[in-house]
């Protein structure tokens, strides 16, 4: 933000972000670079001409706080409204931040105390084998540790406030305080949630709200469609803590408008930290629209996910140029942190039948007659590659196959092996196989136990989609072909000789059962 002198006024231009009460009546202290490129503090009338703001950001907790972006366009501020000395605004800001940190930390202390109070209340009522939880030593330990942490945070906070009253500079003190209190109270909140068991995740229990305001937790799945209720259990068994079920005839088929609207509505309501969408054909259509409406970013087509232990940010890894460049992407400023994840790259965790989750019914707020797109008929192209992503065995061909007829030979081989048939990009472009069979960076990612690459040169655009295979067998007459760099077994020969030989051998082994 800049401030340029103009007679008795300064003219301010620029954007400010996350401004509490930026849209409410009164004056705000605005920091801007003046004509000497130093920071000056101005008291700006929030109803001045040229002052405008965005709608409030949707937050994870703390609904109602009203953080907005503020846009100043040629806003005139009298020189008499400079707060403190001109060009010395930064000092003023640092002093304010120090005081505000103490307010932040006592907010943490208060919330931490509430976590303990709620846990104690719950522990006295909750009976386990005829005794209240609080009578058990293991739980007593948890409560004691929470109490000790909160007391340490509380009295240090009081002491810094006392220093303020003594007129001391508390910039270093308040920073050290924050360094200590934040992780300590986050741990208190985590313990309180653990103490509450599954009840901690249930809305209505205060601990759920406290935890959301202090830290975060839980996986929620959105299930949308018609007649899909039977899949709720599946989602819970595979790790969802909550399932939001939007079951409605209007959501029967994927339609951009309906799915985008419903997802955005649920995100604004549940305020997740992280939003994951499968990078399927529909997901790729859906994700960017949702991101745009939520005013957040989206890392698309990622293959690895992690949480940075220090910043607690989601780190999404996206391979570029095949798998040769891996980019770690973060989203520090906007929420939710959105990522689309390539299907097939994560192994599905085992089903846990004992898991319990919460089912939340949600409405699909669209009327059939209002939806701009109507699905008249769904025509499926005869697909040979539908099961590629989950196939145990894959036979794939490249340009080395020569022509469409060559793929007939591969088809027979695949049939004998019980494998799915795939191809690199160019044979698909040539129309030798349907699009669904495309494997690689802009096609499907496979992770079979056996990948048989026939006449494939091994360009990174293709190998990006196969590197997770357990065993890669390559047949190519060029011994320098790049495919041999990733292959576990290589056969250097003309595939027109090798493949028929394999077919003959397989036929002999399976005998008359198949032919």
């Amino acid at each position: 933000m800049t401030a340029a002198p103009d007679g008795d006024d300064y003219v301010l231009n620029g954007t400010k972000r996350f401004i509490t009460n930026g849209h409410k009546v009164g004056h705000g202290v605005f920091f801007a670079k003046d004509e000497t490129s130093k920071v000056t503090a101005f008291l700006v009338d929030k109803s001045a001409g040229g002052y405008s703001c965005s709608k409030p950001w949707a937050l994870m907790g703390l609904g109602g706080q009203g953080l907005v972006d503020v846009f100043l366009k040629d806003v005139k501020v009298p020189k008499a409204h400079i707060l403190g000395e001109k060009s010395k605004g930064f000092r003023l800001l640092l002093r304010w931040i120090a005081g505000e940190r103490v307010q932040q930390m006592v907010f943490m202390v208060g919330m931490g105390q509430a976590c303990l109070d709620e846990s104690l209340k719950y522990g006295k009522e909750r009976m386990v084998r005829g005794k209240p939880m609080t009578a058990m030593q293991g739980f007593q330990w948890m409560l004691s540790e929470m109490h000790a942490s909160i007391e340490a945070c509380r009295w240090w906070t009081y002491r810094i406030a006392g220093k303020q009253d003594e007129g001391d500079d508390i910039q270093v003190d308040s920073a050290a305080l924050k360094l200590f209190v934040v992780p300590a109270i986050q741990e208190v909140a985590r313990k309180a949630l653990q103490f509450h068991g599954p009840y901690g995740y249930c809305k209505g229990y205060k601990i759920e709200k406290l935890y959301r305001a202090i830290a975060h937790g839980g996986v929620t799945a959105l299930l949308i469609g018609e007649g899909v209720a039977d899949q709720v259990e599946e989602l819970v068994c595979h790790g969802a803590d909550r399932v939001i079920l939007a079951d409605d005839p209007v959501a029967k088929d994927y339609r951009t408008e309906v799915y985008t609207g419903t997802l955005v509505e649920q995100v604004l309501k549940t305020k997740p930290e992280i939003l994951l969408i499968g990078a399927t054909r529909q997901g790729r259509d859906l994700a960017p629209r949702v991101a745009a409406r939520l005013n957040t970013g989206c890392s698309s087509d990622c293959t690895e996910l992690d949480i940075d232990p220090e910043t607690r940010l989601l780190v999404a890894t996206k391979p570029f140029i095949g798998n040769n460049v891996m980019a770690d992407m973060i989203c520090p400023l906007f929420r939710p942190q959105m990522v689309t994840v390539r299907p097939g790259v994560f192994e599905l965790e085992g089903k846990d039948r004992a898991r319990r989750g919460k089912l939340i019914h949600a409405a699909v707020n669209f009327k059939e007659e209002d939806v701009k797109v109507r699905v008249i008929k769904i025509v499926r192209t005869p697909s040979k590659g539908a099961g590629l992503e989950r196939a145990e065995k894959v036979v794939a061909g490249g340009m080395g196959i020569g022509d469409a007829g060559g793929f007939e030979m591969l088809k027979e081989l695949a049939h004998l092996l019980g494998a799915e048939l795939g191809a690199t990009s160019l044979p698909i472009e040539a129309g030798w196989l349907p699009r669904e069979c495309k494997i690689g960076q802009i096609g499907k990612t496979v992770r079979p136990r056996l990948y048989l690459a026939c006449g494939i040169s091994g360009a990174v655009q293709h190998t990006a989609g196969i590197v997770n295979s357990e065993a890669i067998v390559a047949i190519n007459k060029d011994p320098k072909a790049e495919i041999f760099d990733v292959a576990d077994y290589g056969i250097v020969d003309d595939l027109k000789r090798v493949v028929p030989a394999i077919i003959d051998e397989l036929k002999k082994r399976v005998g008359k059962r198949l032919h």
Partner: protein, 136 residues
Amino acid sequence: MDFTLSPESKMMIKAAREFARQVIEPIAAKMEEEDVLPDDLLPKFAGAKMLGMTVPREYGGTQTTALNMILVSEELAKGASAAYWVMAMNNSVAETIHHWGSEEQRRRFLPPLCDGSHYASMAFTEPGTGSRRQLP
């Protein structure tokens, strides 16, 4: 060094606890759910002497210590509600204006912050900058 809380402090803690129970608790869930701040909340804070707490009485403040402000704040924090930050912001900005402002600025800007007719803002974060540690 005195580690005791004065009778005045204890009284203020009790009053704040009562305020949280009577005024904030009933509206907290609705605030959270609908993401809106009720218009009459800030004046209610003012009525309870919880705005401009460290500002001298002549400018409309409560003229108490920073420690008392923190003790009162702690009680309001227990509800984990955004109501806290509306109160906290008016306090910290009023303190800043009192500390750095000219006499004229104090007379003009402090009373409306203390009586809850104006909402305080502090605008320093920009899309490319902020108080947060800079990531590499």
